[in-house]
Symmetry: C2
Subunit: 208 residues, 2 copies
Amino acid sequence: MVTRAESAAATRRALLDAAAELLDLGGPEAVTLREVGARAGVTRGAPYRHFADKDSLLTAVAAERWEQIAGQVHALRIDPALSASKKLRRALHTLIDVGRDQPHAYQMLFRWNGKRAGQLERLHRQLCGPEGDPEAADRAAGRFQDEFLAIVAAVAGERNAQHYGALLLAGAHGVAGMEHSGHLGADKWRTTADELVDTLVRVVVTAQ
Amino acid sequence: MVTRAESAAATRRALLDAAAELLDLGGPEAVTLREVGARAGVTRGAPYRHFADKDSLLTAVAAERWEQIAGQVHALRIDPALSASKKLRRALHTLIDVGRDQPHAYQMLFRWNGKRAGQLERLHRQLCGPEGDPEAADRAAGRFQDEFLAIVAAVAGERNAQHYGALLLAGAHGVAGMEHSGHLGADKWRTTADELVDTLVRVVVTAQ
DNA sequence: TCGTTGAGGTGACAACGTCATCTGAAAGCC
DNA sequence: GGCTTTCAGATGACGTTGTCACCTCAACGA
């Protein structure tokens, strides 16, 4: 009935779900391999059959989150009922919302992805590693960036899309980060994250 | 010769220096209380006489870094040889430089400062705690923000200084974060962090 | 001078990531 | 079907970490 491959895939899925849930609840520190295993119905050593280490597990969670965000922005981009500038605002607010609703997962998205420096290590992983996700998170983030870039190009033109796209993305990212870290206190700056994103779009659009 | 207060102050200083050094070397994970104590010439339990826990120690390090940055920006602001817009660019590049040279310390600066939620806990800490730094990091960050706000006001006018100041600060923060996390790959966006900050200033200034 | 205080040392504990090893069932092969 | 191989998962163990309770002893106030 249940082949071994099916069982393994189900376990991997359960591990990812458990890790994502724990991440949202209490941050990376709360993602314990023991607790992840327990919630997935296995023991603490089992995750090592699917992920190289804890970091790889968290990276895989981040990759899925990037995929999800990329899907949302893609749906936004092909929506014929929205104007180009509206799509741009919505895309940036998508990031803000993630940072607001799942702050810990958001931090995983923009985390220095270690492991990547060594080209030698990549080769080794490709040959004997448990297969899988050396740069899956990078590719997923790239898919989001491609979708976002297309939206920016429709507003700012193909010529400066990359430069202004990076500026818009970095701006929204900074707003999300400052809101999350509490450095956007209303008493000090007398503004909100949403206002800042809207101003950012307006300012960039009017500039070019 | 050496009073008890002097000795304690020297130990505290050594603990902060050791923690800062380890933080720069290997990030928060590398800051172990045992190694910090060893480098400060004491044992693992000694830091608890000066800081409530590891998190408080890291927060104190972040507070000193904020003080240092605030000092740099202050020196910038009162420099008569610089134009207003030049001061603005330099202030933002100060942040970018910290994110580039001490990325781990930079992340500490914009970290969610936990402990602050409970007003009850603040009172308790004020009464019986080991004295010290409940919101020292916040106050230091506030000093930087005040200096920065004054620079922005000289460029964008007093009226919209807060709104545009927050936008500029968040923009630079996002650029620093994306550069640090590797999401600013030159092949994708065809731009650099420095170009982005300059464009950000130009765009905001021309808008208002 | 004597009791008090508080910085620092020490032992211990639980929790964690990680690995080596073992087990048992599915998978492939004859 | 019977055999061997493979591999997901269980288990025991190890080193490291943050943290606490307890102890020591020199500086301090009276």
